[in-house]
């Protein structure tokens, strides 16, 4: 193959915004309970777009013919999430925030905002589409590898959160998440490596958080990574949550596409067969020792399969760590609702299939030495659908463009084809909005000072290392509040970044951190206790014990004034002795000062 393939990589970031929901006036909060206030059941059908085309991803999803169940929570949902009421006008705060962030990213803002409908029929939206609006284009970001273009920024609604897919295929979702605003940023394919990709994702994340209105917590930011190599294809890897994993994901995907290119090379002479002859092989297994095949047959399922000419050995080629080409084909069978496939490059004895049965399969399928076979166990219609999809994939003589889902180890699995062009059409229930000068002025205010200004401010308040940490910290908003209250910046920062984090590691979780911190430090500023007592106090506050009681029961009230004077004299002005015994109750600086006056 010669030269090293050049990577083409871009990233798409979705960040939840901490404003009201986008198209209704519900709060952007998630229900704290699991038991819904009501449940509704819907069945969605893909319809032709206004352009008269049916989206291929939508069609594929519809073939599954499933019901969707939605858990509704009355505090966080209204009739809009249930698709029982048309959308309300777009949330002003969210829109201004997104526009403001766009100005910080050197973007060209559109003259008119048009809300569009993006077809989604996986049930993650009750309406069958996700509302999205392009806000700006042509921006850029400075990075260590030069400028990275920001192609587009859009504001869109978050989907419903999936709870589970039931045995009968019904998907269950919760509606509290639906409609929370997301800012969606898509970069140009200017990213040069996995490490660079991570840097870009981190920087964009920091810019978003600097606005002070990015939601924090699990799942509030998601990265989709787009990767291709020459002669490969664009693959969109969805649901990347951990930035540290990005370099690994990029490496694995590049290697996957390289391995697929090598497989294609081997298959050059092998003709593609899109509609192979599917054979019912059930009779071979009438007396099988394979208990799972036996169980399936008794339940009315069939063993069916087809031959993959010229594929012997190819299904066993590893294309991702621990995943073979056979797994890639199995992912396609999974889209028809199957758990997987069985193929001839596997050790079939692990399924309880013996050599005699293998020989019979080969005879029945007319499979030669150079051929491979694929079999599945399922109800006949489902088995045929799954095998047809496997065959369709195996017949490709190019790398297909795909949407893939990331696994925890950085490998990925096939989800669906890349969405087609017919996926978007105008949302007719919402008027187009002119972006006027006065809107832009308000937007700049809404998005705050921006990352660089914030960085500068932090560097003035903290040492360089802590400033860097605070810039990324989820506690930066609380930090600003505490500093405003008059708390020494370094003390506020170390409490939030070191003490709280250390306690969290020990399993001590403080519930309403903002309120707890404000309360704690207002008493500290009153001179009720000293810095070093904070680490002793916090675990008890976490348990819900009031501060006053903690100070009393643990005897942590600060010693000052006359009492301190007495203490110093009692200890013959021995600083070391005093600090050793009263570390949690006296302030070293104060002791020193007082000693000098005595």
């Amino acid at each position: 193959m010669g030269e090293e393939p050049v990577l083409k990589c871009g990233i798409e970031i979705h960040q939840r915004l901490d404003t009201g929901k986008l198209f209704c006036r519900c709060p952007s909060t998630l229900a704290e309970v699991d038991e819904p206030d009501r449940k509704i059941i819907r069945n969605l059908r893909a319809s032709e777009s206004e352009m008269g085309e049916l989206d291929r991803a939508a069609r594929l999803e519809q073939e599954k013919q499933l019901d969707f169940e939605y858990d509704v929570f009355k505090k966080d949902c209204c009739l809009v999430e249930e698709d029982e009421e048309p959308p309300h006008p777009i949330d002003n705060e969210a829109l201004l925030l997104v526009l403001g962030i766009c100005t910080q990213l050197n973007m060209r803002i559109v003259d008119q905002i048009h809300v569009m409908r993006k077809i989604v029929v996986d049930g993650s939206n009750t309406s069958g589409f996700q509302r999205t609006a392009l806000v700006a284009t042509h921006g850029f970001l400075e990075t260590s590898e030069g400028k990275v273009g920001i192609d587009t920024v859009a504001v869109e609604e978050e989907s419903a959160g999936i709870i589970e897919t039931k045995k009968d295929g019904t998907k269950q979702y919760r509606l509290d998440r639906l409609g929370i605003p997301l800012i969606e940023l898509a970069t140009s394919p200017d990213i040069v490596s996995g490490a660079h990709c991570k840097e870009v994702a981190e920087k964009i994340g920091m810019i978003l958080r600097a606005s002070g209105k990015a939601a924090r917590g699990l799942g509030t930011i998601r990265q989709d990574v787009n990767i291709s190599i020459p002669k490969g294809a664009r693959v969109e890897i969805k649901g990347v949550q951990d930035l540290k994993l990005i370099p690994k994901i990029v490496e694995i995907e590049v290697n996957r596409q390289k391995a697929l290119l090598e497989i294609l090379e081997k298959l050059r002479e092998v003709p593609a067969e899109e509609n192979p002859h599917i054979v019912d092989l059930s009779s071979i297994f009438s007396n099988t020792n394979s208990s799972f095949i036996n169980r399936g047959l008794v339940a009315g399922q069939r063993v069916m399969g087809f031959v993959l000419a010229g594929h012997a050995g190819i299904l066993g080629v590893e294309i991702q760590p621990g995943k073979r080409y056979g797994t890639e084909l199995a992912d396609y069978a999974k889209t028809a609702g199957l758990k997987g496939i069985i193929h001839s490059d596997e050790d079939l004895s692990k399924y309880g299939i013996n050599q005699e049965e293998i020989t019979k399969i080969q005879v029945n399928l007319d499979a030669g030495e150079k051929d491979a076979f694929v079999i599945v166990l399922a109800e006949e219609g489902q088995a045929r659908m799954a095998l047809a999809r496997v065959a369709e994939r195996a017949a490709l003589r190019e790398i297909p463009g795909q949407t893939r889902k990331v696994n925890q180890d950085g490998t990925t699995m096939y989800m669906r084809p890349l969405p087609g062009k017919a996926r978007m059409y105008p949302e007719t229930d919402i008027h187009a909005l002119n972006v006027t000068e006065s809107i832009l002025e308000a937007a700049k205010k809404e998005a705050g000072e921006g990352l660089e200004a914030k960085q500068k401010k932090l560097e003035e308040l903290l040492n360089p290392e802590m400033a860097k940490r605070m810039l990324k910290s989820r506690h930066s908003k609380i930090f600003e509040k505490l500093v405003k209250m008059g708390v020494e910046p370094m003390l506020a920062a170390t409490t939030l970044e070191d003490t709280i984090v250390a306690l969290r590691r020990e399993g001590v979780e403080i519930k309403d951190l903002e309120k707890t911190m404000e309360d704690l430090f207002s008493h500290y500023l009153n001179g009720e206790f000293v810095k070093s007592a904070i680490i002793e106090i916090l675990p008890e506050l976490a348990e819900g014990i009031p501060l006053e009681e903690v100070l009393k029961s643990r005897q942590l009230h600060k010693i000052g004034g006359e009492e301190l004077k007495k203490l110093i004299l009692e200890h013959n002005k021995n600083m070391g002795e005093i600090m050793k015994n009263y570390r949690l109750r006296v302030d070293a600086k104060e002791v020193k000062q007082m000693m000098q006056t005595l």
Partner: protein, 189 residues
């Protein structure tokens, strides 16, 4: 909401204020309400009741709307999301009342939309009829008031305000729970 059933006085587009348990002599509040003594109470009886409330129906004649020019304000109880006949596609035999509504609005008479559906919210952004009505100056999109609440409110606003622009603004400002921003799911259970 029903001529005779026990649900006759059921709260529309809002939850009931409270649940009464007579056996225990208990009143359990269900929605938001102002407690007695919480705010200052002021009697304000400036009302202009020269307001008409007109129901839309197939065959509503333009001359009926035309005849309302003596009123200081009009509340329409439209169909569905808040519609009257606008005939956007020039269908033969259909009489649009749009020009007459626009003439009233242009002359400074506020025209307010509500819906004859018992539950739900006016939305003039969804169908062409609604958009045309908005262009003609009709106010009320996004309000979940009943026709009667819209009527009472318009009487009150007109009692305090004559400037049509300000009337429109004040109409859309919730003052006593007549417009809520969320259509809560328990309201239509």
């Amino acid at each position: 909401m029903h001529t005779s059933s026990r649900a006759a006085f059921r709260s529309i587009n809002t939850t009931p204020l409270a649940k009464a348990d007579f056996s225990k002599n208990l009143l359990e509040p269900l929605g938001e309400y102002k407690k007695r003594g919480e705010g200052k109470l002021q009697f304000d009886n400036k009302i202009n009741d020269n307001v008409a409330l007109i129901y839309a129906y197939p065959g509503l004649k333009p001359k009926l709307i035309d005849s309302l020019a003596d009123y200081d304000g009009i509340v329409l109880a439209g169909t569905g999301l808040g519609h009257v006949s606008t005939d956007p596609f020039n269908v033969p035999h259909v009489k649009s009342v749009l020009p007459e509504i626009k003439a009233l609005s242009d002359s400074g008479i506020p025209v307010v939309m509500s819906s004859q559906c018992i539950y739900g919210r006016v939305n003039l952004n969804v169908y062409t009829a609604g958009r045309l009505l908005q262009d003609a100056g009709v106010i009320g999109s996004d309000a979940d008031w009943t026709p009667e609440a819209a009527y009472a409110k318009l009487c009150w606003v007109l009692g305090h305000q004559k400037d049509p622009k300000k009337v429109a603004e004040e109409m859309m400002e919730p003052i006593a729970g007549e417009i809520s921003s969320r259509s809560r799911i328990e309201e239509v259970d």
